[in-house]
């Protein structure tokens, strides 16, 4: 079984203000496989994938649909457990964790941005942003939500409901929701998939800004134009990581 281990060179990309000398590892996949179904219907969505992301990196995972990038995203995001292999997140072996502990990791350490935004339609923007804080002990949840909205440039839209916002604005609310918990990783799954090109540029700009500010961002996309934004791009095909363009 071929193990495609991708060791990120220390000098990958030009050092930015965020990528300080201390390059702690955020996540590491070791020979992770994910198999769906049994017997003849077995689908090997991930085949012994090795993958490491360091703090402060901006990584694009690219690949056509069916390449296994969504499965990879689910495993990175602790939304699904690998069938085989080890997954380390922030030094902890996540692949051995139960449902409660995984929920805890998702809440404390990962900020999600989805293609469909997934905002709750009945709530104003700030309530949506506040949502992850409900599942942890947090003081001044509204203050934190307003600060996160200000960070994505929506300080004047905090009381708007999702239906009163444009697609780009809705996705910025979703980014604010991902930011509000101060996560170790922002995981964006096709964040521009439902947006026009202007809104896409806006959203990608915000993600890049966050990375410049020190955030670790993993971006999953099938769109080469989107993948051109991050400094590091890994490509998936048939459940394996294929190549890495520096």
């Amino acid at each position: 079984m071929a193990v495609v281990a991708l060791v990120v060179p220390a000098a990958a990309g030009a050092p930015s203000a965020a990528a300080e000398p201390m390059r702690a590892e955020v996540l590491r996949l070791e020979s992770v496989s994910k198999v769906y179904g049994t017997g003849a219907a077995t689908v090997r969505a991930l085949d012994a994938v090795g993958f490491t992301v360091d703090q402060g990196e901006f990584v694009a995972v690219m690949g056509p649909s069916g390449s296994g990038k969504s499965t990879l995203m689910n495993i990175i995001g602790c939304l699904d457990a690998p069938t085989d292999g080890r997954y380390w997140f922030g030094g902890e072996d996540v692949s051995r964790m139960g449902e409660r502990q995984l929920a805890h990791v998702r809440n404390r350490r990962i900020g999600f941005v989805f293609q469909q935004f997934h905002l709750l339609p009945a709530m104003p923007a700030w309530r949506n942003v506040e949502l992850p804080l409900l599942y942890r002990t947090a003081r001044d949840r509204k203050g934190a939500a307003l600060r996160a909205l200000a960070q994505v440039g929506l300080a004047d839209r905090v009381d708007h409901r999702p239906s009163e916002l444009s697609g780009g604005q809705q996705q910025r609310v979703a980014i604010a929701r991902a930011l509000v918990t101060d996560p170790d990783l922002i995981l964006a799954d096709e964040p521009t998939g439902n947006l026009d090109s202007a809104s896409s540029r806006e959203v990608l700009g915000i993600l890049r800004q966050l990375n410049v500010g020190g955030r670790t961002v993993v971006l999953i996309t099938h769109d080469p134009n989107v993948a051109a934004v991050p400094r590091r791009v890994v490509t998936m095909a048939d459940g394996r990581l294929r190549a890495e363009a520096a």
Partner: protein, 405 residues
């Protein structure tokens, strides 16, 4: 998640799904209110029937003669003339029958009454002053005849209110019965029109006078004897006393061969009570059906809304909610809706209980049991169907739940 925040999240869930919340609350509200009203109406009608029957005299016993058996042909109960004035006298004895308060021997014929303006055919009874007590009747105006009137064969008549009205006769007027003039000495109060005969359409005259001019035949015999016990608790012993006494005076050895029958009004009461119990059961089933329909409505709304909210459940899970967090949130939502619906339903039911008697002739009698059952069932349905589908959704993998739209 702290209990306070769970509560807050649950309430926010309710507020952000207003239509669903209102429909659920309405379903529970109407179910509970319907049960309270229908059972209340059933209870009130049963109470009122019981009260009217009790007003007829629950301590009343009626002695009727046994049947004749001539050549093997039974003439039916009351066809024999086996009851006499001396039977009535004997029953009146406080020594032999201490639990019998009043004794009224009765003879009765149907006669035409003629007043100055018109005539009217009705039931004419001959009896004693105890007739008033044993029939639980009152006099509206005038005075009922006395023992003295009975002894003197007085030609005075007491008319039922309907009879007096139909004859156009008042106190002091003369009414002719079987060609004999009687003076109207009293008008009875209304009986409420209960029983098998209209208690308001009759005339009562002293027993002796009736035997003289109306019934003829054997002067000593009476058609029945009305007895009233000292209280409703002593009906049983009064029955025993009358039975023993009459068996002895009629020289009958075994009760099976008795030539008389004693009937208690309370037997009629228990029959009537079983009828009203049936009525209450009928109304309770109607209420149960309305509760069931309301419950199914609540169940559907809850099931649909949980399906609709599967992606919300997925999102909350992705953002770090544990299945227990979600379960508690839905529990708070369902419990709040059920309690609010239940309380409003009780309020609505009680309000209807006040308004229905005010604007209609239907009485409503509220009691606690149907309220508790209705609230319990409605809240149970709300809780079960609010929580179980949500619990199932909370166990889904977050990505699967997120994909649901």
């Amino acid at each position: 998640m702290s209990p306070l925040r769970t509560f807050e999240t649950g309430l926010r869930g309710i507020l952000s799904h207003r239509l669903r919340s209102i429909l659920t609350t309405l379903g529970i509200l109407f179910g509970v209110a319907a049960v309270i009203c229908t059972v209340g109406i059933g209870k009130a009608s049963s109470d009122s029937v019981n009260a009217r029957i009790a007003a007829l005299g629950t301590n009343l016993l009626t002695v009727t003669p046994g049947s004749t058996a001539v050549g093997g042909v039974f003439g039916g109960t009351g066809s024999a003339n086996t009851l006499t004035m001396s039977d009535a006298q004997g029953l009146k004895s406080k020594d032999n029958a201490p639990d019998i308060e009043a004794v009224a021997p009765v003879v009765q014929v149907r006669e035409s009454l003629v007043s100055s303006s018109t005539n009217w055919s009705t039931q004419v009874q001959g009896s004693t002053p105890d007739w008033l007590v044993t029939n639980a009747r009152t006099v509206q105006s005038g005075r009922f005849f006395t023992d003295g009137d009975v002894q003197s064969h007085a030609q005075g008549v007491v008319l039922g209110p309907t009879t007096a009205q139909n004859l156009g006769a008042g106190i002091g007027d003369t009414v002719t019965i079987a060609h004999v003039p009687f003076q109207v000495i009293a008008i009875l109060g209304s009986s409420g029109g209960q029983g098998f005969q209209n208690g308001d359409d009759l005339a009562v005259v002293p027993l002796t006078t009736a035997q003289d001019v109306l019934t003829g035949g054997t002067p000593n015999s009476v058609q029945r004897i009305l007895l009233s016990a000292t209280s409703s608790d002593t009906v049983g012993s009064a029955y025993q006393e009358a039975d023993q006494l009459l068996l002895a005076t009629h020289h009958v050895a075994s009760p099976a061969a008795a030539d008389f029958t004693i009937q208690a009004q309370s037997q009629f009461l228990s029959t009537a009570q079983s009828v009203t119990t049936t009525l209450t059961i009928l109304l309770a089933s109607v209420a149960a059906i309305s509760l069931l329909v309301g419950g199914i409505g609540v169940m559907n709304i809850m099931l649909v809304s949980v399906t609709e909210r599967t992606s919300e459940i997925g999102l909350r899970k992705a953002l770090g909610a544990t299945p227990a967090d979600l379960l508690r949130q839905f529990l708070v939502e369902a419990a709040t809706l059920s309690v609010v619906g239940g309380v409003l339903g009780v309020g609505g039911g009680l309000l209807a209980g006040v308004l229905i008697p005010r604007f209609t002739t239907i009485g409503v009698s509220i009691n606690a049991t149907p309220i508790l059952i209705a609230v319990g069932v409605a809240a149970g349905v709300g809780l079960i169907f609010g929580v179980f589908p949500a619990a199932r959704a909370a166990r889904l993998a977050p990505i699967e739940a997120l994909r649901a739209q």
